[in-house]
């Protein structure tokens, strides 16, 4: 049976921000087999739908995950709004898009820091997280919360942007774009970083389709898939192209996410330019009845909100299928045959969000 080392890559590990367990079977530091065990963060919050009425559930929906929390709230509200076919005011659409793109920006910066930390590049981690603090500052200024900001509600948004806030946002965007250029050239052209990401965990276009990869994982392997092109919220009025890479390895995923950061900065500028006046929410009356599937684009990929209402205050069912849940099979595929030193990088390249996966 040759000489194998079996080690637990456990729930508590310095390089894993969240608990996921892998049995790693190694032979001379090459991974023969990796069997996952999830369930450490499973709270079963979809069952809360019987205890909290549909208004209160927005707060639960937002707390599925701390990184992509805004879009969870937005997705849930959009799904309920489509059931009650309520049309939210134009300004609210734009405000939601601005906050959505800001939260995508901070999620990608966070991911970049963790990836740099995984291959031993501590100063890049510090630098990207310092830039991220500026965006959290904007969140605190505009919505009051740094990570979870209950600002989205059914029928619109709770807080508004005044002129001074908008000025600050565009100033920060300018500054961020300049700083990002330096970091991007380190990630894409530095020899030692390229050595660790080029050709690692390759996922061909066919395999990506076969394994149901979504979001940056699929786009890095050449699949044209970006929910924002469907023009929900205010995306219909913005001009942008989904970012596609071809060779599908860690390097391609890094460059997809980096270019998406620049794209988000550009989208936010467009939104600020086109921000119409008007009120920010519309009063909703009555109780939802019927069901609806809503698909929007989270930082890690396409998410599906299915909600089913029966005319009472308490919904029947809310089902959230999050992107990492779809990316886990792709992770297991890329883990076979990689080196032990690449395991943290491969886990991080799908940008895992365990609390999203296990709800």
């Amino acid at each position: 049976m040759g000489n194998r080392t079996v080690i637990p890559f456990g729930p508590q590990h310095p390089v894993l921000p969240e608990p996921i367990h892998l049995d790693l079977v190694l032979e001379d530091e090459t991974v023969i087999e990796a069997i996952p065990q999830i369930g450490y963060v499973h709270r079963g919050l979809e069952k809360l739908v019987e205890k909290k009425d549909f208004q209160q559930f927005t707060y639960v929906a937002e707390r599925i995950c701390g990184i992509c929390s805004f879009m969870h709230g937005m997705g849930y509200c959009m799904s309920i709004e489509s059931i009650m076919d309520v049309k939210i005011p134009e300004r609210a659409e734009f405000l939601r898009t601005i906050w959505a793109e800001l939260s995508r920006l901070q999620s990608h910066l966070l991911w970049m820091g963790l990836l740099a930390d995984a291959f031993g590049f501590e100063s890049l981690f510090m630098h990207s997280w310092r830039l991220r603090e500026q965006i959290l500052d904007i969140f605190e200024l505009t919505t009051g919360g740094r990570v979870i900001f209950s600002v989205c509600e059914i029928g619109g948004v709770r807080k508004d942007l005044n002129a001074e806030m908008i000025k600050k946002i565009s100033a920060v965007m300018e500054q961020l774009e300049k700083d990002m250029v330096d970091i991007a050239n380190v990630f894409l052209y530095d020899e030692s970083v390229k050595h660790r990401t080029k050709g690692v965990g390759v996922l061909s276009k066919q395999a990506a389709f076969e394994l149901g990869a979504v979001g940056p994982m699929a786009r890095a392997s050449g699949i044209h898939m970006d929910r924002r092109t469907q023009g929900y919220a205010a995306y219909g009025k913005l001009k942008f192209e989904p970012i596609i890479e071809i060779d599908g390895d860690c390097y391609a995923r890094t460059s997809v996410r980096l270019r998406e950061i620049f794209q988000s900065i550009d989208l936010i500028k467009q939104c600020i330019a086109l921000l119409p006046e008007g009120d920010i929410k519309v009063k909703i009356k009555g109780k939802p009845n019927g069901e609806h599937y809503t698909l929007i684009e989270q930082p890690r990929g396409e998410v599906l909100y299915y909600s089913k209402a029966n005319g009472t205050n308490f919904l029947d069912r809310v089902r959230v299928r999050t992107p990492t849940f779809a990316n886990v099979p792709a992770l297991l595929e890329t883990l076979k045959g990689c080196a032990l030193a690449d395991v943290p990088i491969l886990i991080l390249t799908i940008d895992p969000c365990i609390s999203c996966t296990e709800r």
């Binding site: 080392t5 637990p8 456990g10 508590q12």
Partner: protein
């Protein structure tokens, strides 16, 4: 009868008696007595002729020659018969050619040659006699215990214990003869006798691949024998002398180099250097005592002993360069291949070939320091390696497998055995022990004689040696808790042999300054004329000895600290999912899974096939270049 003659003849007589006693009990007692007697005999002879070199010739010279010739013919007949029977015609050709040559030479050419000293007993042969005597007899003592359970474990092998003991003692006699004789024909006779013994011992178990390997070993050694015979004839015809000491005394100009080259080739085959190293790996099939005695401690040392004798001639000559080149390639290649082996005996075999390569380099450079290092290397390597082989044999008996991976429970199975093998491994590469001191002096010698490439090879090789020895020692040190393991008896004979050898390893490391002062320096002085001095400074020697004593005191001094330092036991860190017994963790699918550890073998980094292929070709080209150089120089 002279003491030297008694020393050589006694093992022969002993083996005859042992051969005819079939009953186990009696034979074992006889073997024990014979081994102890041999040890005393060697010590007695060594102490008697300690300070005066002895040049000795026998009056009934011709009768001895005739007896030798008669035995040679018998042996040749047997080998030719075996060659034909097993359709290995190359063997029959080789042995026929070499015996015919020697007989023709003895009868026609050698009338005129008078031999002044047919036997020589100087400091080098003193060391070799001690090594062969003490280690040889200890191994025979060990074999008594080993053979007891060996046949219980392998029922399918035909039981021929008496034959085994007999051949061992014949081999001892042959080695004594080889080390003492100065006359080339006698040296040649003992040389061929050792080849015969190794053939018989490898083929002991009579399994399919044992026979194949024994013939493989026989062919290569007989090839060496043919070169030896040619060399004797050349020397006899050209210089009208048959004495090694006379040959060494000549000036190394071209015509002398031809026989020296032939002798060097036969030495290289005997000590399994690169182009010819495959036979030693095959020999690992034989029972462990034979590998311990023949294939690591004594027989393979004969080749290197011959090279050390020829060192003054090899020093500046092109033959020396070639031999250094071959020694270097062998040392480096085998150190790398040893990393990717997991069978204990294979690791020991590769490490033996590598260390022999090192000794060959030191011998063929021929400066005074390198010879000092070569001889020390022979002593330390013989003791430490035979200790390792014997302990691996006992471990195989205790654990039932030779794989290094299963040795992590040895500390629980038998604490004594793991202590002995740790001393053995430490002896092979750790700082204050002998092998490292000789490597240090070897390094100094290479750099002084300006061969930079050998320094680089030594440096890379010792890095690889550190890797595979520490890896093995790590396994022995991690006392994994024992799965239910049946405890086998650790036989008293085995233990005494191993214990004495372990003590020998430590004593030899302590006493290397004394060895150098009384044995090495006088010998080197006779060889180089100038008063030889110990290459390491006295301050370093003291630091070395201080460290060695620290090595012994530290473990003992730690016991009191352990006793009064009660500590809370905690679980090992298994990322939080340790099931509580430090052996398994709860894994996916809700099952518990065992944690397994294994060393690195880097099979795809050091591809043993590719390395051995390339180094073999390199060495063969090296030899051809040597031949061409000789022929060119000879032609002019």
């Amino acid at each position: 009868m002279h003491e030297i003659a008694i020393l050589i003849l006694f093992p022969l007589i002993a083996s005859a008696f042992i051969f005819f006693i079939r009953k186990d009990k009696a034979r074992n007692i006889l073997v024990r007595i014979c081994s102890i007697v041999t040890i005393f005999l060697t010590i007695y002879v060594a102490s008697k002729y300690f300070n005066k070199a002895l040049y000795l010739s026998f009056n009934n010279e011709t009768i001895i020659n005739q007896i030798l010739m008669f035995i040679e013919i018998l042996v040749a007949g047997y080998l030719i018969f075996m060659g034909i029977k097993n359709k290995k015609y190359i063997i029959s050709i080789f042995s026929a050619v070499q015996t015919f040559l020697i007989i023709w030479f003895e009868l026609t050419q050698s009338q005129g040659i008078e031999i002044k000293a047919s036997m020589v007993f100087d400091k080098l042969s003193l060391i070799m006699v001690l090594v062969v005597g003490i280690i040889g007899s200890l191994v025979c003592l060990y074999t008594v215990g080993y053979m007891k359970w060996y046949h219980i474990h392998h029922e399918n092998y035909k039981e021929r214990k008496s034959f085994f003991f007999a051949v061992m003692f014949v081999f001892l006699a042959a080695m004594f003869g080889l080390v003492l004789s100065n006359e080339l024909t006698w040296l040649y006779f003992c040389w061929e006798l050792t080849t015969l013994c190794s053939f018989l011992l490898i083929g002991y178990t009579k399994t399919q691949d044992a026979i194949k390997n024994s013939f493989h070993a026989l062919t290569i050694n007989l090839g060496g024998g043919v070169c030896f015979a040619l060399a004797i004839i050349f020397i006899g015809m050209k210089f009208k002398t048959l004495e090694l000491s006379v040959l060494i005394g000549m000036k190394p100009e071209v015509v002398v180099l031809i026989p020296v080259f032939l002798l060097a080739i036969s030495a290289l085959t005997k000590s399994a250097q690169m182009p010819f190293s495959s036979w030693l790996l095959g020999a690992m099939v034989a029972p462990t005592p034979s590998s311990a005695l023949l294939h690591s401690a004594t027989m393979v040392k004969a080749g290197v002993y011959l090279l050390i004798r020829l060192a003054p001639l090899l020093g500046q000559s092109s033959v020396g360069q070639v031999v250094t080149f071959i020694g270097g390639i062998t040392f480096l290649a085998n150190s790398f291949i040893a990393i990717s082996q997991s069978d204990a005996k294979k690791i020991l075999a590769y490490s033996t070939i590598a260390n022999l390569g090192l000794i060959v380099i030191c011998a063929s450079i021929g400066t005074q320091e390198s010879l000092w290092a070569a001889i020390l290397l022979i002593i330390f390597h013989a003791i430490a390696k035979s200790l390792l082989f014997l302990s691996v044999g006992s471990i195989e008996h205790q654990l039932g497998s030779r794989n290094v991976e299963d040795m992590d429970i040895l500390l629980k199975v038998s604490r004594k055995l793991s202590l002995y093998i740790i001393i053995g491994i430490a002896g092979m590469f750790l700082a204050p022990f002998g092998m490292l001191i000789s490597k240090w002096v070897a390094m100094k010698a290479f750099i002084d004689s300006n061969n930079i490439l050998t320094v680089i090879i030594l440096v890379y090789g010792s890095a690889a040696t550190v890797f595979y020895w520490t890896k093995w020692m790590g396994k022995l040190v991690s006392n994994a808790n024992k799965k239910e393991q049946v405890i086998h008896t650790f036989h008293i004979d085995e233990e005494t042999a191993i214990f004495t050898q372990a003590v020998l390893v430590i004593i030899s490391c302590f006493s290397f300054p004394i060895i150098s002062k009384y044995a090495l320096e006088p010998y080197l002085a006779t060889l180089f004329g100038s008063s030889a001095v110990i290459p390491i400074g006295t301050s370093d020697v003291n630091i070395m000895l201080l460290m060695l004593s620290m090595f012994l005191i530290l473990p003992i001094s730690f016991f009191p600290i352990y006793k009064n330092d009660k500590r809370r036991k905690a679980l090992t860190y298994m990322a939080g999912v340790n099931t509580g017994d430090n052996e398994s963790f709860n894994s996916a699918f809700g099952k518990n899974r065992e944690v397994e550890y294994s060393n690195w073998y880097m099979k795809d980094y050091f591809k043993s096939k590719k390395i051995s292929f390339w180094s073999n070709t390199l060495c063969i080209t090296g030899l051809c270049v040597g031949v061409i150089l000789i022929v060119l120089a000879g032609g002019r």
